[in-house]
Amino acid sequence: MNNSATSQSRSLLEPRALAAIRDLRLVARRAVEGLHAGQHRSQVRGSGLEFSQYRNYTPGDDPRRVDWKLYARSDRYFVREAHRESQLELWLVLDVTGSMLQASDQIDNWRRLDCARCLAASLAWLANEHGDAVGLLTIGGTNINLVPPRAGQAHLDRLCRELASVEASGAQPVAPQLEALWNRLKRPAMLVLISDFLDERQDICDMALRLAAGGMDTVALQLLTRAEEEFPFHGGLRLRDPETGRYCEIDADLVRNGYRRRFEAAQQRLQQTLLAADVEHHRMLIEQPLDRILWEFLRYRQDKAY
């Protein structure tokens, strides 16, 4: 295939374009294509393809794992051990409250939820590539949906279907509704929390802190829009809070500076809180290319791992 044909097919496979046709599997594959930075190696040894070491046979070992050729040479029983390809359990926690419906003012038909979906699907794909088990938890309004972690292609398909069908609405559920969830999330796992972290009560932030305190390797992926960062509006506006439905009439020019100051202060507070709880925080704009978001996130993980 020549270069121009390649670039054409690449542009046709833009994550955003793929998201529009709602084939999240394709989006995920496209987005993580060429990214191998997220590969992680389990320290637990067991059965697998890649050889690690031999050890002496002890009663209870599966006789099938005895290396019979070695027994023929040495007359001793050795069990062949390999790196187990994965023991990682990845939880994708997706905030599906009303604020996730925030649309970009620069890209048509591109909402925060769309970006979060693609991001979640890409991470799920990536984890599945490495044989990791991926679970999905969507929290928003009265809708709490949990898909237990599992590995395999069929499971990935299910995750993608779930992600494609999820819709955002309402506000963050109150703490008692979430109590049952914490029991399901007790085993140590990696947890990626995708949200805007833009609620007044900081419920999502509290959730991240609680999960981190429970021994989870928690990553907060904060998705913002450029308008939220820069407040580029002019003139009179009637703004609606998508979660509470409250209205606020403002003069954009009048409040811009005050808003920007408060926004940055709130972001700094959030970052400090998360850092103090050892929660990894990534702040991203949904207007950024999806593969770039992923790449930055995964490179950071890789740098941290080594």
């Binding site: 604020s99 419906l101 925030q102 649309a103 805007d196 833009l198 609620d199 007044e200 308008a227 939220e228 509006f233 002019h234 003139g235 009179g236 506006l237 009637r238 703004l239 609606r240 809070d241 998508p242 979660e243 509470t244 409250r246 606020c248 009439e249 403002i250 003069d251 020019d253 009048l254 409040v255 811009r256 500076n257 005050g258 808003y259 408060r262 926004f263 709130a266």
Partner: protein
């Protein structure tokens, strides 16, 4: 009262440009009126403007921008202000200084025109046609015709016009003004040049210096003066002193004596049959030449006066006519102009009066609006209210 006239009315099509700020205003309103915004809580407690005030502000800007476009369109159409004709159909214009003639003239006019005296609009004959109750503008030399022409443009085309005037010699240029209507020319008779109006009883002194062989000229001149006297209130006095004379008849073939030159230079009229040398200008009459001499005038007749028969009654008549119609400049003392003869002609095309262009005013308004609009929108963009 003034009427606006447009020099390029087609440019008013540019008024369609008013749609531009309107459309921008409406689009702007529609697109950004309501938005979902997740971090709304961050806006709480920030100073907020009431929507009413915001709309007021937007409308103010819209209004300013519309005015800008409208002013630009008006500027392109080049409007000018023309004084509106006053509605009255009968006019009596009075030359300043002749107010005492208004009453009798009004009665006469109302009889002739068959209308009430009250229906006749009486104004000063000055460039502004001021009412009689206000003081008239000081009359300047030569502005009688100017004022009359201006008045002609300002009156309705069908209005009848009467004028009480006292044409001064200064008013009489070589061309009589031509108005678009017939003028009833009301005058108090004749006026002699140089004498204030109303005081026309100046004695005219005449000095005759004739050579003995031309002594017959004396009765000729006397005949001229007598002929003149028919229409002149002035008395004619023969004098022996050239310096005191208004007219000098000098017949000797010799050079002019100093005393006579001095008298002519100070304003007298010299009639002579001796050529005055260089500088003589041929008159319209074939056998008369003239030359200015100081404030006075030297008329040379090529005709040999001595050849005239002493009793020739044609000569005074001819001379009288020549002097009357010669449009002499300066008008010699005693030369009379009949006021009726100074009446303006009629039959000119009705003309539009002078229009005052509004370009400067509109240009200034445009700049001012532009500055105001820029200032306000910068102020609003910076987040400040009015």
């Amino acid at each position: 009262m003034s009427a606006v006239i447009w020099q390029y009315p087609a440019a008013l099509i540019a008024m369609a440009g008013l749609l531009v700020p309107l459309v921008i205003h409406l689009l702007d309103r529609g697109s950004a009126r309501q938005l979902d915004f997740a971090p709304l809580y961050l806006l709480q407690e920030l100073p907020r403007a009431s929507l009413r005030r915001l709309r007021l502000r937007e409308r103010l800007l819209w209004l300013l921008r519309s005015l800008l476009v409208a002013t630009a369109a008006l500027l392109l159409a080049s409007p000018a202000l023309r004084p509106e004709p006053v509605a009255a159909q009968a006019w009596l214009l009075v030359q300043p200084g002749l107010a005492e003639q208004v009453e009798p003239s009004l009665e006469r006019l109302s009889r002739q025109w068959g209308i009430e005296p009250g229906a006749i609009e009486v104004r000063w004959l000055d460039p502004e046609l001021a009412p009689l109750s206000e003081p008239a503008r000081q009359r300047r030399a030569g502005d009688l015709w100017g004022a009359l022409l201006a008045a002609d443009t300002r009156l309705p085309a069908s209005a009848r016009l009467a004028v009480i005037a006292d044409p001064h010699a200064d008013d009489l240029g070589p061309v009589r003004p031509r108005l678009s209507r017939a003028v009833k020319w009301l005058t108090s008779g004749t006026r002699s040049a140089g004498s204030p109006s109303g005081e026309n009883a100046l004695p005219l002194s005449v000095f005759v210096d004739a050579a003995p062989e031309r002594s017959s000229l004396a009765p000729v001149l006397t005949a001229v003066v007598t002929a003149w006297q028919q229409g002149l209130d002035a008395t004619v006095v023969m004098t022996d002193e050239p310096a005191a004379a208004d007219w000098i008849l000098y017949a000797p073939a010799a050079d002019l004596p100093e005393a006579i030159v001095a008298a002519v230079t100070s304003g007298a009229l010299l009639l002579s049959d001796t050529p005055a040398g260089d500088g003589m200008v041929a008159n319209s009459r074939p056998n008369t030449e003239r030359r200015r001499l100081g404030a006075g005038l030297w008329l040379h007749r090529s005709e040999d006066w001595t050849a005239l028969a002493p009793g020739d009654s044609n000569f005074p008549l001819r001379l009288w006519r020549e002097l009357r119609f010669a449009r002499l400049d300066p008008l010699p003392p005693g030369i009379q102009i009949e006021a009726s003869q100074a009446a303006p002609a009629s039959g000119a095309e009705p003309r539009a009066g002078p229009a005052q262009s509004l370009a400067t005013t509109l240009g200034a308004l445009l700049l001012w609006l532009l500055a105001l609009e820029r200032w306000l929108s910068a102020r609003f963009a910076a987040g400040r209210m009015l």
